[in-house]
Symmetry: C2
Subunit: 486 residues, 2 copies
């Protein structure tokens, strides 16, 4: 009977898996064998086929993203110009990209927050200060997230590794459990507020989410727009802070938690802090490296022109020398190696499509097409289409790599200011995660807690999406005008 | 008292650690502040300081090799030409090197031999055929090692992961234990023969040991000598096979095991094979990928000019698509990521030292110095010095990165044929591991078994070193003459 069960359980999964493999291959082959449009080189067209097949593969997911990226690198080595050895050399060139190593280094460094328990300590410090009321408690969790977001590029690690465990223990302490009708006491509000906070903090720093530097390098490659670490943070500062203050309050008003006063939470936090004892040398070192990183990322130009990636390498070296992290911690940091591989593949393809002339050609074509309409309309239609198409995506990276460059190029062709569009699409690449329970890494973690009903998650997610768009485009647009960015 | 113990136990270690940190830094600083010799650019000289400090760091080991490499990359970003951003770009360029990815891919693929248990099955197959006598048993273990060596670049994984566990269970089955006076029954012979076999198989293929491609790329960068996968294997074929046949027989004669007939071993092997059942689909797939790799590595040029690294990427992609390996297996393969980092740092420095003119300058200087002596004398003195200096090294990689390029350049300056010297030094980079119980990754594994006395290990190791030198330089030299390599 066990055999029969297996037989019954397997076929649908297998069929599905074959389809997942077939779709990217078929789409790639169709593009490959279509004649390239006039003005496009055959090599560029063939690389486009590989690129589209890779993106569709990342979305259809016959294999994890990194494995799809390996296949993409392999296929690129067959279609790029030159001998196979030369083409493979080009296909591997992404691995030497400085922006990629910025994020890989940040992954390594972020391990220190969890290993030294500095992240946990920061959470309890904010809780002890802000945690007397439920709304304050949510701000405390978000403040913890915000403080660490510049140096933890995995929002899944930040959310799942630091914020959620603390949140869960508080909700439990207040007798709010997911499945016995007590979710509404406090748990469901804290889950929604923390998750929406995470979506916003991810948008606030170049290094707060793994696909942010991907957006930045696509902007540099395709639109000649350089978004520095400091430039990103400054542009996001005003809309980010307003969103972080307004969104939890709105969630609180929309669906008030039953428990509104939480004096015990502050007491719990103080007790936890007492248990943790005084700050350990490893935590001080972690804090010092963190401050050093932020200083170099903000003032690198003034401080002898130190590059952001160099600062991150320096930060990791200091953590290794002081033994806050071991080399084995680095080798075990799978998220970093995973990011290295998919990021290198995507950046290489995007950069080659550009240097083989496909992106400039596409921009010219679109420019001719959209030259009639005013840029404001084109900009709004494109950016909203970019935002709401995230209902169809299960990953920020997949969405950014599939659509960011094309939407940016088209909007610029329609006359939209390049920096404005690059920033709005980059911020949207995070904010669009507010809507579903599968749209970004931490969403399944928070939704999976069971505190929030699906209908509530989607409804509040949609409302917050509108609020964020208004704040970031409206107030943000004014702020960037003041900064002279457009 | 516990506190007192800790206090007593710590200081020596701490002092030692400070010294380990201080030595590379001081040596680096001394070189950095010395005036560069006439004809050497300041930037090349400063990079030499970083390079020497990194090599000394890899030897002194204040931190694991990968961590030292990270610091080396950081320092390079401060001394290489251009802005910090440009210099860091150069410092990261090693990560896009095709040879490095050949070895990283081979690390991933080799996991399949262990995961599918194909390696174990091959060991039992050889044992069932050859295992009726003790000497035959040792040949069976060596044959297993040889068959897998082209696709398992970690000799530690090959020795510690596949050969040693099988060896240990046979010795145990024959009542030969390390510590009760029964080591001489069969265990001590099998340990010595397998270890020496491992040293020789490592020398036989470009992909049989992690530092082999490092030697090959140093030869390409510094002497313009291209050693292909097939070229390496062909050159090593005759001396390698002779060594593999002669060395176990010599060890057997020098110190005969008490048990000489082992009919039960063949029976055990057949029993194990029966237990394993028929070959699983995943093993067939692994075998197919392995054969495909060898075919492409040997006949890549004829098969549409497919590069060796491309073939390895293809092999990994096939294993991922057929789910023989999961993407998580790849991310967990720490040896691969470790190799990626140290290899990228060393290759980058060596290549930059060359392009900044230091290596050519060094060659010119040495050429003038040694122009009097005949090349045969210079070649022999240099290669023997290279070989026996391994008494001072605890890693093949450290030795290759410290000495290979310099010794090669000097020998060529003295008039030695470039390809001959490059090959001999490359083969020696493996064969010199025969001598000590710490000179290569698997040595501590086999020595640590306790079957072999230190004096026996060193004595037999020295004798085998002489035998290997005679076979590889003497018979090898004739073979390479026949091949027209010099």
């Amino acid at each position: 009977m066990a055999t029969a069960n297996v037989t019954i359980a397997n076929p649908p999964k297998k069929d599905n898996s074959i389809l997942r493999f077939a779709i990217p291959i078929i789409i790639g082959l169709i593009i490959y064998f279509l004649p390239p449009p006039t003005g496009v080189e055959v090599e560029a067209w063939h690389l486009l086929a590989v690129f589209v097949a890779t993106i569709v593969g990342i979305i259809a997911k016959p294999l994890p993203m990194g494995a799809v990226a390996i296949i993409g690198i392999l296929m690129s080595s067959f279609v790029l110009p030159g001998s196979n050895k030369e083409a493979l050399g080009t296909a591997l060139s992404g691995f030497g990209n400085g922006t990629i190593w910025l994020i890989v280094m940040a992954f390594f460094i972020s391990r220190g927050f969890i290993k030294t328990r500095l992240g946990e300590r920061i959470a309890y410090l904010f809780m002890a200060k802000l945690g007397k009321k439920t709304l304050g408690l949510s701000y405390g969790l978000i403040a913890t997230d915000l403080v660490m977001s510049p140096a933890i590029p995995s929002n899944t690690a930040r959310g799942g590794g630091i914020i959620y465990p603390v949140l869960r223990s508080i909700a439990g302490a207040y007798g709010s459990e997911p499945d016995d009708g007590t979710a509404g006491k406090i748990g469901s509000f804290l889950v929604k507020a923390s998750f929406q906070g995470l979506v916003i903090t991810s948008a606030m720093f170049l290094t707060a989410m793994a696909a942010n530097p991907l957006a930045a390098s696509l902007a540099a490659d395709n639109a000649g727009v350089e978004i520095t670490w400091g430039g990103w943070a400054l542009a996001a500062l005003v809309p980010g802070v307003i969103s972080l203050l307004f969104v939890p309050w709105l969630l609180y008003k929309m669906n008030p938690p039953e428990i509104k006063e939480t004096p015990e939470a502050a007491a719990i936090a103080r007790k936890k802090l007492a248990e943790m004892g005084s700050v350990k040398p490893s935590e001080w070192m972690m804090l010092a490296v963190f401050v050093l990183l932020i200083v170099f990322w903000v003032f690198g130009k003034q401080l002898g022109g130190i590059d952001g990636t160099t600062a991150a390498v320096l930060g990791l070296a200091l953590l290794l020398i002081t033994r806050v992290l071991t080399w084995d911690d680095v080798l075990k940091e799978r998220g970093a190696w995973d990011t290295l591989v998919w990021f290198a593949a995507l950046v290489m393809m995007a950069s080659q499509l550009n240097s083989l002339g496909l992106i400039p050609w596409f921009g010219d074509q679109m420019g001719t097409l959209v030259s009639g309409a005013g840029w404001v309309v084109a900009f709004l239609v494109l950016s909203l289409a970019y935002f709401y198409s995230h209902y169809l995506f299960a990953s920020n990276t997949a969405h950014v790599s599939a659509m960011y460059a094309a939407f940016l190029v088209v909007a610029i062709a329609a006359g939209a200011p390049a920096m404005l569009t690059a920033l709005v699409l980059a911020f949207f690449s995070n904010l669009f995660s507010s809507m579903t329970h599968y749209g970004t890494g931490p969403a399944p973690v928070f939704f999976g807690s069971g505190y929030v009903e699906m209908s509530d998650w989607w409804k509040s997610g949609f409302i917050i999406s509108v609020v964020n768009i208004v704040i970031w485009v409206g107030i943000g647009g004014l702020w960037w005008k003041v900064l002279g960015l457009w």
